[in-house]
């Protein structure tokens, strides 16, 4: 019994001494500065943040020119922080007129970047949001006064241009314009990346361009069909006459009614510029 008591005391003293020696070695190592790889303290505000790796999932950024508003990211996002509208421009390509990413709800999971077919959506390495640490300007957007505000294209260019410069460089009038649209007390932290809606004239001009192109395509198609019919007629007289009328009947029908340029045939017009996209889940 005495021996057990002595053994406990001796073992306690030994383990405490070995513990103290270990912490003592930590103390000396740290004071001498070689504290091992894992312990170099990164003094963040003084030294810049060490963001390792190039696959960093920081804040989302969308390159509106390449975006075709296919809503792939919208469907795949579990949190639904995208709000986008699309318009068709002159050569029938869809153009992101409004593309807002609500960064306060985003969970930075990267599913949308994987789902984006045209790689217009990407994640930056920036996590700092305070411009004092030079968070990248193009990423950092002011909040919109309302969530569903409508910016026309020229306004959006001006917004992108003004928001890119530091606030002091703006003239008073620019700053007033910017503050009028982007209110500091906006509802959500939103990254605004759309190219802006068409103004009515631009819309008319884009439609006209599309019409002209369609007409040109129809004319070309009609001409090609006529040529094909002529070639078929040349080949037809050799075989027996019976199949001719059948063959003749089919090609004749489409060629007969000259495609009325005015009335766009119902089937050809592409999906209108409705904002709808593929069904949401």
């Amino acid at each position: 019994m005495i021996l057990a008591w002595i053994h406990d005391v001796v073992e306690a003293v030994q383990s405490c001494v070995s513990g103290m020696r270990t912490t003592g070695r930590f103390l000396v190592e740290n004071l001498r500065g070689e504290g091992g790889a894992m312990s170099a303290t990164r003094e963040y505000p003084e030294q810049p943040a060490e963001v390792v790796g190039d696959r960093q999932r920081g804040h989302l950024v969308n390159d509106a020119d390449r975006c075709i508003v296919c809503h792939a990211c919208d469907t795949v996002c579990p949190v639904d922080c995208f709000k986008m509208d699309g318009e068709r421009d002159g050569d029938n390509k869809m153009r992101a007129s409004r593309f807002d990413i609500d960064l306060s709800k985003c969970i930075y999971c990267g599913l949308c970047v994987r789902a984006c077919p045209t790689d217009s959506l990407s994640m930056t390495r920036t996590f700092e949001m305070d411009p004092q640490h030079e968070g990248k300007r193009f990423l950092f957007r002011r909040n919109s006064k309302q969530v569903d505000v409508r910016f026309d294209a020229p306004e959006m260019e001006r917004l992108h241009a003004l928001a890119a410069q530091p606030r002091e460089a703006l003239s008073a009038e620019d700053r007033a314009w910017l503050d009028a649209r982007i209110d500091d007390r906006g509802q959500h932290l939103i990254g605004i990346y759309g190219l802006g809606f068409f103004t009515p004239e631009q819309k008319a001009e884009a439609d006209a361009a599309r019409e002209a192109k369609k007409k040109a395509k129809d004319a070309a198609a009609a001409a090609a069909k006529a040529k094909a019919a002529a070639a078929a007629a040349a080949a037809a007289p050799k075989p027996a006459s019976v199949p001719a009328p059948a063959a003749g009947a089919t090609p004749a029908a489409p060629a007969a009614p000259p495609a009325a340029p005015g009335a766009p045939p119902a089937t050809k017009s592409g999906p209108d510029a409705a904002s709808g996209g593929s069904p949401t889940p």
């Binding site: 639904d80 969530v147 509802q187 949401t280 889940p281």
Partner: protein
């Protein structure tokens, strides 16, 4: 799937309990459909039988068959028991259908104490009562919560204790069905 409910286990159980049927799920996974009445007996038999020795309750859960595309569309709640034997290293799956009207399934916490917490969770999220459970009360949702969330016909509450659930001006396309009564 052989280890899941191979024929040896099934035949042993069927020999003892004729009311039990061996069924196969849509992708061929076999399980034993046990009537509510003799669940406890089957459980005791599986646990104490020398050749079976199912001494571990891997998982006890449930799922609502309301919208499941099964041939006779039923609105029962299927309570699933996944058993495992550390001695023989084989598994078996039991299922009990609890009708929506009076969902009551006898408790198996007598056989496996682990069932205490599992059954409380199934009661909380599905509303299946387990008579005989020493302290059947809600485990996940607050005590004054109305409704059982994991049922297919569950309506999300609009607010809780007077504080709105959604943020103002927040709207989701295809958001969950709302309108449940709020405590």
């Amino acid at each position: 799937m052989s280890a899941v409910a191979n024929d040896a286990i099934a035949t042993a159980v069927l020999a003892q309990f004729p009311a039990v049927q061996q069924k196969h799920a849509d992708n061929g996974r076999a399980f034993l459909l046990v009537p509510k009445g003799d669940l406890v007996a089957v459980a005791h038999f599986l646990r104490t039988q020398k050749s079976l020795r199912f001494d571990a309750l891997m998982d006890l859960t449930a799922y609502d068959l309301l919208k499941y595309p099964s041939t006779p569309p039923s609105d029962d709640i299927a309570v699933v028991y996944l058993l495992f034997s550390y001695q023989h290293r084989h598994k078996v799956t039991l299922k009990v259908l609890a009708p929506r009207a009076e969902c009551e399934v006898a408790t198996v916490s007598g056989e496996w104490p682990a069932a205490l917490y599992f059954e409380r969770e199934v009661f909380d999220l599905f509303g299946v009562r387990f008579p005989g459970h020493p302290s059947l009360r809600r485990i996940m949702t607050p005590d004054d919560w109305q409704g059982h969330p994991l049922r297919k016909d569950y309506l999300y509450p609009d607010s809780y204790h007077g504080v709105a659930h959604l943020r103002d001006g927040q709207h989701f396309e295809g958001s969950p069905p709302r309108g449940g009564d709020t405590p």
